[in-house]
């Protein structure tokens, strides 16, 4: 360190050493900041596409509800979709058991998966984990049996689980799993499976998006049955059949279980509604899926009939006394001549983001929901009048009920859908379309009122798998690693002992990930996000060209960078920082910085379906609303066969044309059908149809890994981008 060096040299060296250290440190901090910038907008891209999908789902649902209310009973469209609103047809629980009888389902000899006998044992539960690790599938007979037992168990549970850590050392809490079996297996590997010494709490969102949702449910339910005092489940916003239609769980079950999938899904609807809403540990730590609002009240939540909320997106079923004095679930649908129909469908408490009037894709539902909301007062009044038809004994309490059930519903919606924010206060969560954003002051107040010290919730993906906020009084926990893309984020679980100090464990599934340096994984996610974005841009080509033309007054085929960014945002409405991402999205720019927009679409180089005979704007509709279209198809496919008839296909397009307020001719629809009806038998395979109109991203000429900051950045040595894995 300076042996043999003269005093002055050493002094100079140490000065130089410090200077060079500072230089490195400055550059390092810049390096980190730029990486953070890229990570943020990559995240932003994925998240805004995910949330706009959720919003679209809610909008679609509201639209369908509007149809139900406003079309005449004989209308075709209405019949097509009425079953989605029809509650479980069977009235009484005994009938349920009969309806879902599994006993007549044979298990063939060639079946090589696990066999279950009830009551379930630990060995069987563990065996199931092993079987799924080895890619086996559980037979539908056993699933139905398992689900029945689960349902019986769940019905015994209170709305709010009361958990105590005194009997065992620690409880392990997991966040969203979203069908990612690999993550659950990894958690069990690191932390052991549930047992008497190893209690677990799973905080919702077990299904959707990932490909092994049903396997995860089977595992969780098995352990719940085997260790009823050690395994706890909270409901998430994805434990909801409406949401499942869009986000993949419905599709997964129907494709894995062609014969009995529909039954399984029906039974799951009921099971989801019976999942507890929240858990409290040692009376001090509250665990729930989404969050709270300034009106959240645990004593109200403890009292609700949670199973009335089959989907959190719709108002609750009304239970009323029939003449025979039996409690019945009333059916929403107008059955012929039913005078007992007390229930009016109430407007949704959800609120999709207010959208610009002239925005093409959003011309749909805002006016619908407004119209619906106006009718609330009248409906509540007529509701109360109708009550006179029923027995009068419980009149007062029932009318109280009808007013309170709005509150109850809001309580549950908030609990499942809310997100924390940094500012004080409580505002509606318009990004997701349900629940609210709540601030640190609301947390503080809530904790004090209920004498709690910590809220653990999930619902939001976090890069490190977890994140504290609100002065460490709120912990977000997310257990699905690589959620947006390989390398996008870690997962985490938390262990809580009697001291109630959270101990976090992180992980990331797949060995490939460990090798990726942080920089490489940011690069990968970024490329993936940009790819998704380019597809979205391509799918909106007509609207974008339209927007560009408006700004291109001299019709030169070019727009300035600012105008480009403005136009793109006005069409896509994702709230993204387009200027920052321009070098990733646009290569060709002229000397004056303007962009040739026709040329740009060529650059995007996205390959669409080989469909020259199909109307261009119709094609774009297909790309853009792919997810919505598929959802509607699945709704229409009432017997869940995966096929719909030509006639239903036409009806579906008519529905879509109303939804989008867009003209779609009969000929155009026929053209579409012809494309994929390869066996000419007049029925359309939904999967095939969706595949035929998928966008694929060809290899693009856009450079990767280029610095995106022009202007004030000094001229940097350009290095090769992240190496391909």
């Amino acid at each position: 360190m300076g042996c043999g060096v003269s005093k002055s040299n050493q002094f100079k060296n140490s000065g130089k050493a410090i200077k060079s250290a500072v230089l490195i440190q400055r550059w390092y901090r810049q390096f980190v900041a730029r990486k953070e910038m890229r990570r943020r907008y990559t995240w932003h891209i994925f998240q805004s596409i995910e949330y706009s999908g959720e919003q679209a789902q809610i909008k679609l649902y509201n639209f369908l509800g509007y149809l139900m209310d406003n079309f005449t009973p004989t209308s075709n469209e209405r019949n097509l979709i009425s079953h989605i609103f029809r509650e479980n047809e069977v009235c009484r629980d005994a009938e349920w058991e009969r309806y879902f009888c599994y006993k007549n389902i044979e298990v063939p000899d060639i079946y090589s998966g696990p066999h279950l006998t009830f009551p379930l044992t630990v060995e069987q539960a563990v065996g199931l984990v092993e079987a799924f690790r080895n890619k086996k599938q559980l037979h539908s007979r056993y699933i139905l049996q398992l689900l029945l037992e689960t349902w019986k168990q769940l019905r015994l549970l209170p709305n709010i689980n009361r958990i105590s850590t005194c009997h065992s050392k620690e409880i392990t809490i997991c966040g969203d799993l979203h069908g990612q079996l690999e993550d659950l297996l990894l958690i069990f590997y690191k932390n052991d499976m549930p047992s008497l010494e190893k209690p677990y709490l799973f905080n919702g969102d077990f299904v959707d998006r990932g490909k092994d949702s049903i396997e995860i449910l089977i595992i969780l339910f098995s352990f719940l049955l085997v260790y009823p005092s050690e395994v706890y489940l909270n409901r998430g916003n994805h434990e909801d059949h409406i949401v499942n239609l869009r986000y993949g769980f419905t599709k997964e079950v129907l494709s894995k279980y062609r014969m009995h999938g529909k039954r399984i899904l029906k039974l799951l609807q009921k099971i989801f509604s019976w999942l507890p809403l929240a858990s409290v540990i040692d009376q001090k730590v509250l665990v729930l899926h989404g969050g709270i609002s300034n009106t959240t009240d645990l004593s109200v939540l403890a009292r609700v009939d949670r199973h009335n909320y089959v989907s959190a997106l719709r108002p609750p079923k009304k239970r009323h006394q029939s003449v025979a004095g039996l409690s019945m679930d009333s059916d929403m649908d107008e059955d012929a001549g039913s005078t007992n129909k007390v229930f009016q469908r109430r407007p949704s408490l959800t609120f999709p983001k207010a959208l610009a009037k002239d925005c093409f894709q959003n011309r749909s539902l805002q006016d619908f929901s407004d119209r619906l909301r106006v009718n609330t007062v009248e409906e509540v009044e007529s509701h109360q009048k109708n009550r006179g038809l029923l027995g009068s004994e419980n009149e007062t309490s029932q009318s109280c009920e009808s007013i309170n059930s709005e509150d109850e519903w809001k309580q549950i919606l908030d609990l499942l859908w809310s997100d924390p924010m940094t500012q004080d206060g409580c505002v509606p969560n318009e990004v997701r379309g349900g629940g609210c954003y709540w601030g640190p002051d609301v947390t503080e107040d809530f904790l004090n009122r209920h004498n709690l010290q910590l809220i653990i919730r999930s619902h939001e993906c976090k890069q490190e798998g977890y994140e504290f906020c609100h002065n460490r009084k709120v912990l977000t926990l997310f257990s699905a690693s690589n959620y947006y893309d390989v390398g996008s984020n870690r997962g985490a679980y938390v262990k809580l002992g009697p001291d109630l100090v959270p101990y976090l464990v992180q992980y990331q599934a797949s060995s490939m990930i460990r090798e990726l340096s942080v920089r490489q994984s940011v690069g990968r996610s970024e490329r993936s996000a940009i790819k998704v974005l380019r597809e979205q841009l391509f799918a909106h080509k007509s609207d974008l060209i339209c927007a560009f033309k408006k700004l291109d007054s001299e019709n030169k085929g070019r727009v300035s960078l600012s105008d480009w960014a403005t136009a793109v945002e006005s069409v896509l409405r994702l709230g993204l920082p387009w200027r920052i991402m321009r070098s990733q999205l646009v290569t060709g720019r002229s000397a004056d910085g303007s962009i040739d927009y026709y040329e740009w679409f060529n650059e995007l180089a996205i390959k669409g379906a080989n469909a020259d005979h199909i109307d261009q704007s119709l094609l774009e509709t297909l790309y853009r609303h792919r997810s919505t279209l598929e959802t509607i198809f699945r709704i229409v496919d009432t017997d869940n066969s995966g096929f719909i008839t030509m006639e239903d296909f036409r009806q579906t397009w008519k529905l879509l044309s109303v939804y989008l307020k867009m003209e779609i001719t009969e000929d155009a629809i026929s053209d579409l059908a012809v494309t994929i009806d390869s066996n000419q038998d007049g029925s359309i395979d939904i999967e095939e149809f969706m595949e035929a109109f998928r966008l694929t991203d060809k290899k693009s000429r856009l450079e990767r890994g280029r610095s995106m900051f022009m202007g004030t950045a000094t001229d940097l040595t350009k290095l090769e981008g992240d190496p391909n894995i």
Binding site: G2, C3, K7, Q10, F11, K12, N13, S14, G15, K16, A17, I18, K19, S20, A21, V22, L23, I24, Q25, R26, W27, Y28, R29, Q30, F31, V32, A33, R34, K35, E36, M37, R40, Y41, H44, M421, T422, Q423, V427, Y437, S517, V518, R519, S562, A565, G575, P577, W578, R579, I580, G593, S707, F709, G711, T712, A713, T714, L716, T717, K718, L719
Partner: protein
């Protein structure tokens, strides 16, 4: 062995070196945003605005960021000031204010302008020269361990995990780093 002289003020250090640890005699006056003339083009300002928005975490998108984020934003936009310089333009806020105090876009611009005007950005050569100090054998490599130690103990100290992140995959089998390659790596993000 000569006693370490680090505690003395360092006239040998260049003007842009970090201030010595004891309370300094302020050479520069307090930062006054009103004295700063903005020389950015409208295009640049739009770019900054977009980036500013990315760091804005208010749900109502109020175009405000916390003091703690100001440095990150300036760096993300291509500058590489020292932490001291950042604190200077922020008006030397207290530690607890960093998370709670907010600034809006108009307050941000003069701060950024001031940093942009600072001459001493450090070029590739500066960087390499600086690392050469640690090149004991003059063979183009430095010991990873020594570099880690320096970065964690001298100047505007880095934390251990930050050093780990920086040096990830940079050291060869012998624990040495080829510093020219290292510099290219840092500057390329």
């Amino acid at each position: 062995m000569a006693p370490k002289k680090k505690e003395e003020p360092k006239p040998a250090a260049a003007p842009a070196a970090p201030k010595p640890p004891e309370p300094e005699i302020p050479k520069t006056p307090e930062f006054d945003p009103t004295t700063v003339t903005l020389e950015f083009t409208p295009e640049q300002i739009e770019d900054f605005r977009d980036s500013f928005q990315l760091f804005d975490t208010t749900p109502a998108s109020e175009m405000k960021i916390a003091y703690a984020q100001c440095g990150d934003l300036i760096r993300a936009l291509g500058q590489n000031p020292t932490n001291t310089e950042i604190m200077h333009v922020l008006g030397k806020p207290k530690a607890e204010e960093m998370q709670t105090k907010m600034l809006d876009f108009d307050q941000f611009l003069p701060m950024h302008q001031h940093i942009c005007k600072s001459k001493d950005c450090g070029t590739y050569e500066d960087f390499v020269e600086g690392l050469r100090v640690f090149d004991k054998e003059g063979n183009g490599t430095v010991m990873g361990a020594e570099l880690r130690h320096v970065l964690a103990t001298l100047g505007e100290k880095m934390k251990e995990d930050e050093v780990d992140q920086l040096m990830q995959n940079q050291e060869d089998a012998n624990g040495c780093i080829n510093y020219e390659a290292f510099v290219k790596y840092i500057m390329a993000s």
